[in-house]
């Protein structure tokens, strides 16, 4: 699971617990200027995710780490697809972040309000 917060002009994503081992990452800091939006999207977990490198994917258990799809890098940290939020980025290493959060609706509101 991921904790998403706004810290000044940055979006900060903290990967919690053992997930950071699978994802090979404990946190991400992204300038809000490079964040295009956030969307609750439980359905994305059923889509093709592309090729994982590096990271872990045990279908039905966890999708974590960096995935390459259509020439883009997408960061995943999801165990429970029903709590998935997609954060779209611009001019970053990752094209988007696909994160499991505690309260998708609150996270989406937090990010979208920080942008508008």
């Amino acid at each position: 699971m991921a904790l998403v917060r706004i810290d000044g002009d940055d979006l900060v994503v903290v990967i919690e617990g053992l997930d950071k081992i699978w994802a090979l990452k404990s946190s991400l800091t992204i300038p809000l200027a490079n964040v295009r939006g956030a969307t609750a999207d439980p359905g994305i977990a059923a889509d093709p995710k592309g090729i994982r490198a590096p990271g872990a994917r045990v279908p039905g258990v966890i999708t974590a780490g960096t995935f390459h799809l259509d020439g883009e890098k997408v960061f995943w940290d999801v165990k429970d697809p029903s709590k998935t939020v997609v954060v779209e980025l611009a001019d970053e290493r990752y094209a988007r972040l696909v994160l499991q959060v505690d309260d998708p609706r609150a996270t989406v509101a937090l990010v979208e309000n920080a942008l508008s």
Binding site: R36, G37, A38, T39, A40, D41, P42, G43, I44, D47, L69, D70, G71, E72, V86, E88, A90, A95, R96, V108, A109, E112, S116
Partner: protein, 166 residues
């Protein structure tokens, strides 16, 4: 950014107007958008940034395509009955839902809705030669009639009591 878009953005936005206008913002999932708009999930995110990003584009499109022509038509309205009929027959589904559902929680939506309704008010005020406040009351009545399912007798009863307004 990246590859050229493999879809007709104009058509997609128009379809989103229909979807959001009939099912509301919360009633439309990204899966629904992917299915009904015929666009890949990645392309949706790449083009619009988020579901809200697409919603704002769709709302502005609705205002340009559906509210703007209403404002133009209202300029020729000669009485309250005509103004009421024009507003209640304009196909304002997305505007009504946006006002009820999203404007209270989204400042950008609120600003668009306020501006659009203000334009309708001013068009009615100019056409009928009445104060903007009174025109706003007419707009409010027309939207209320729409919410009630547009029963014929209501608009008629109101305009019989009102006309001539000026």
């Amino acid at each position: 950014m990246g590859r050229p878009r493999a879809f007709d953005e104009d058509k997609v936005v128009r379809a989103a107007v229909g979807l959001f206008g009939s099912r509301a913002y919360d009633g439309v999932s990204v899966d629904d958008l992917v299915t009904h708009l015929g666009v890949h999930r990645n392309s949706l995110y790449k083009t619009f940034g988020s579901k809200r990003g697409l919603y704002l584009v769709a709302l502005r499109r609705h205002l340009a395509d559906d509210v703007r022509p209403l404002v133009d038509a209202l300029a020729a309205a000669s009485d309250a009955a005509t103004a009421l009929r024009l507003v209640t027959s304009a196909g304002l589904g997305l505007l009504l839902l946006a006002a009820a559902e999203r404007a209270p929680v989204d400042q950008e939506v609120a600003a668009e809705v306020t501006a659009a309704l203000g334009a309708v008010d001013r068009a009615i005020a100019d056409a009928l030669g009445i104060p903007t406040d009174l025109a706003a009351a007419l707009t409010a009545a027309a939207l209320g009639i729409l919410l009630r399912g547009n029963p014929d007798s209501v608009g008629t009863a109101l305009s019989q009591r009102l006309d001539p307004l000026a």
